[in-house]
């Protein structure tokens, strides 16, 4: 092993140009093309939740696609240590959620976006707020959920596993950014979610499948121009910005093919990955 290989970071290594493996789609899978999967779709009517720092509802890049949302607050005295408040005109306390929503909207312009704000100043409550936000999306019939957040707390492994299974059995697609720090984090490592890391391309529809999971997909996430709170735009890098690309594409597929289940959608995503070659036999 060379020194360069030894030092190569853990999550994005599968999506560097020389590491991307060419895959073959056979038989009926070879007939699944991007045009079939999402051609002509705008994501119309698909409910997409962004579990994050909030989404700035009136950011010009979002063109009014934000339909409302909730704020999840940590409250040591409340049942299960959290409280949920309606948030009809959501704000974004950092800009990160607006960045994710902006990417989703640019791909699926007619998807309905819901802001689930789970970040706050109480650091001890982070994982609980996050879990409660995810639970809200399950209880409130969201169809696609962008999770550009994760926790590495082992004690939350079970809770998040349970929530992601519940979501899966409710026909939801959870798209989870893998941690930017190469260590296990939840829920990105579960098979019931679609996990995403960054590659350095810029075409929003060019993504890759990694045949050596847990990280499954690589989408643009390096030097991406994104919307930010207070009407701003920034150039940012992180797996956080890769996940919303797959979220947007998933919303397109679901709008065009409402009959598909979460595992079928993952199959469609694999079939349409840029490193999948179609071969009819």
């Amino acid at each position: 092993m060379t020194e360069e290989e030894t030092l190569r970071p853990a999550w994005s290594q599968h999506f560097t140009p020389d590491a991307i493996q060419e895959l073959l789609a056979h038989g009926p899978f070879a007939k699944i093309t991007p045009d079939w999967a999402w051609g002509g779709s705008t994501g119309k009517g698909i409910r997409v939740a962004v579990v994050d720092s909030g989404v700035e509802y009136d950011h010009p890049a979002l063109e009014g696609c934000v339909q409302g949302g909730v704020v999840v607050e940590y409250d040591a005295k409340a049942k299960d240590n959290y409280r949920i408040k309606a948030d009809e005109k959501p704000l974004d306390v950092s800009g990160h959620g607006t960045a994710c929503a902006g990417i989703i909207h640019s791909i699926a312009p007619e998807a309905e976006i819901y802001s689930v704000r789970v970040l706050g100043r109480n650091m001890g409550g982070r994982a609980i707020q996050f879990a409660a936000g995810l639970d809200w999306t399950i209880e409130n019939d969201m169809q696609v959920v962008n999770l550009s957040l994760s926790t590495s707390l082992e004690e939350f492994f079970g809770l998040f596993h349970d929530l992601t299974d519940q979501a899966y059995f409710k026909n939801m697609n959870l798209i989870s950014a893998v941690n930017n720090i190469p260590e296990p984090s939840y829920p990105s490592l579960y098979s019931s979610v679609i996990s995403v890391a960054a590659h350095d391309g810029h075409d929003p529809f060019t993504y890759y499948y990694n045949p050596n999971p847990p990280v499954e997909f690589g989408a643009p996430g390096i030097d991406v121009e994104v919307a930010w709170n207070k009407g701003q735009y920034l150039v940012c890098t992180g797996n956080s910005f890769a996940a919303p690309h797959i979220t947007g594409i998933t919303a397109l597929i679901r709008a065009k093919h409402p009959e598909l289940t979460p595992f079928q959608i993952k199959t469609v995503l694999l079939a349409c990955a840029a490193n999948t070659k179609r071969q009819s036999k």
């Binding site: 970071p9 999550w11 720092s53 150039v235 940012c236 956080s240």
Partner: protein, 266 residues
Amino acid sequence: MNPDKNINEEKLSEQLQRLLTSIEASGRAVLPKSNDVLLKSIVDAAARIFGAAAASILLVNEEEEVLEFKVSTGEADHDLVGTKFPYDRGIAGYVFMTGQPIATSNVREDKRFNQDFAKSTGYVPDSILATPLILTDDRIIGVMEVLDKIDATSFNMHDMELMGMFAQQAAMAIDMSQQIDSIEQALIRGLKRLAKEDKTQDSSDLKSALDHALTGENRTTDLLELADLFNDISGLGEAERKACIQVLTTFAEYRKSTSAPRRFSK
């Protein structure tokens, strides 16, 4: 009266006396606190490894709910040190709230970066890579930043992931160093109580040495000075270190041998 306790006390007194004498003999070099040295070495290494013009570390001050610049190197330099700002301001605040690193270029257009503040220091970077200092229990103790990639316009994914690993090591080292400081302070407080409670024993250089160290105008400063002494011990010879270990062991044994409420028996 328990004869064993007396023996223990005498042993403790003797050993402390010897220790303090040897420390006094070696002179109290004014060394920086171990934690500061550690932080400086971390930012120096980070700037070097990631090809950055500058680097800094901010640590959480939970009481005030602020992040505080503890050390910086390079162009930003020392003026920053001691500056505080709320959790939800600036790039560091964002990283602290989310626990996720972020790399951003064209920082001059980035409002998360506290513009007024940066201007006041006269240094506005073009690119930033900011990474949380996270412990294994997911607790974030601060944020490490490297500023201005020297040979590129921005920090890349590779930098981000490597810095994540580097920051984990750094966080553990910083946490350990802070814990050692706390243990030192706790030990000093214990010694102080011990000295005060020892009313009858005719005393000894132990008491006077401790009194001398503890009767300054500012109690906290004195405690920290005494903590310095303990830091110094690590730089002394093997014999001194062994003596120190013996003293600590004796102290621990003494604690175990006494039942609450803890008093010197007469």
